[in-house]
């Protein structure tokens, strides 16, 4: 079964103080129901909304300059390459027209040959994340790292257990949040000034419930992943196993 995992936007609570009224939390579901899961037959329609996909193998690979800030585009490309290296996956990356849906997504289906699935980053979401220039770089990276976390679970097959028979995405989202937090911890080890806290602000900033988990639950997942890298200094393989156990133990 091919799935697309939806990552909702992300802001609420204290984050609203930063982003004002445009920062809003939403849980938008597909017309077919099923929470965040989008039926396979819709994958092609989402790919049709994609811009120019690329596989970011290194920081020298240029992604589409969509932020309006060349230095941020370059830094984002470098971060994508770091994610690929940190997570041991190489998905295709593309922006797509998310209109008012404000999302990023991951699917195991590659939009480009030989890629480990596809990460699709909504242009509306990008625009919103850019609104606070002081945290925009880390905010964008946090969302992308969450999607890369999904790619990890697609590639190693954990997604089947994480979703389970009922198809509920909560545990897979917890795993993706954990892996995003793990990436923030790895980055903070490399660069102490890295704004790891923004990952909680963004991914854990969602108010209310929803199938991704509450703000508190998401923040906990991010922080656990962060601690696995920063404090416990777990290897990727160990972090994946620990993140899997963490996610499987969670209840919505």
């Amino acid at each position: 079964m091919i799935r697309i995992v939806r990552r909702e936007v992300v802001a609420g609570g204290l984050l609203t103080l930063f982003w004002g009224t445009k920062a809003r939390c939403q849980i938008s579901r597909t017309s077919d129901g099923g929470g965040c899961w989008i039926p396979h037959r819709q994958v092609a329609s989402y790919f049709a909304l994609a811009t120019k996909p690329s596989v970011v193998t290194s920081g020298a690979v240029r992604i589409e300059p969509r932020s309006g800030r060349p230095e941020l585009d370059r830094a984002f490309a470098q971060s994508l390459a770091m994610m690929a290296g940190t997570f041991g996956v190489l998905p295709a990356f593309t922006y797509y027209d998310d209109n008012a849906d404000r999302n990023a997504r991951a699917t195991p289906e590659p939009i480009l040959d030989r890629a480990d699935g596809t990460v699709m980053f909504g242009l509306t979401m990008l625009r919103d994340l850019l609104e606070d220039a002081t945290i925009a770089d880390a905010a964008i990276v946090s969302v992308a790292a969450h999607e890369f976390g999904h790619i990890v679970s697609f590639k190693n097959g954990m997604i089947n257990d994480l979703v389970g028979e009922d198809g509920a995405p909560y545990r897979s989202e917890q795993f993706a949040d954990y892996m995003s937090g793990y990436f923030s911890g790895r980055r903070k080890l490399e660069r102490p000034s890295f704004k790891a806290f923004v990952f909680v602000d963004v991914l854990g900033g969602m108010l209310g419930g929803g199938d991704h988990g509450s703000a508190r639950q998401r923040g906990e997942a991010v922080h656990n992943g962060f601690a696995a890298a920063f404090a416990q200094k777990l290897s990727l393989d160990d972090a994946i196993q620990t993140g899997y156990r963490f996610a499987m133990s969670r209840k919505l």
Binding site: G13, L14, L15, L17, F18, P65, R66, G68, R69, P70, D73, D132, A133, T134, I135, S184, K188, P192, K195, A196, F197, V198, F199, V200, D201, G204, G205, A215, G219, V222, H223, F226, A227, F230, A231
Partner: protein
Amino acid sequence: MRLIKRMMLSFLMSASVLPTAASAQGFDPRVPLAQIVQAFQICGPPAVYQMLSPQLFQIVAAQTGGRGCYVDIAAAGAITGMQVIDQREFPVGPVYAIRVTHQSGASADWFVGFNRSTGRIEMLTYQNVFAQNPLPSVLNGPTNPLGGSTNPGNRQPIDPKPPAPDTSKQSQGCNLYPDMCK
């Protein structure tokens, strides 16, 4: 007067140097603003004034006696930093709020509005950030197609954000997980 004639001539001969709708995606508004501010400090080069709309060009010429530069902006010293702190889209084009700091320690929030169809700057003004090192009085464009008043004393083209906060102090992540903030 020779300079203003040169400015007028180059202006009339110029093509758009700012992004049109087709090319605006990778646009960094700090680049043209830096050129404009520097031109306001050293009275040129004339080509920089081509970025201004005809009306704005005329106002600058009128305010500066045709020299194209402002004594007080020059006194602020070289630009040492620029940060885009806000952006709003209007039907005519985008308006950016850009915090500019100078060698003297003065800081000002510049508001620069572009006409998407012409690629030129239609609106230009600024507000001082810190009272202890103020820049000179407000510099205004002639008209504000984006809805603001043309009265220099009342002009508020967009509602600027307050100075950028220390995000870590307001961060939910920092409050909940201080180890992520160290």
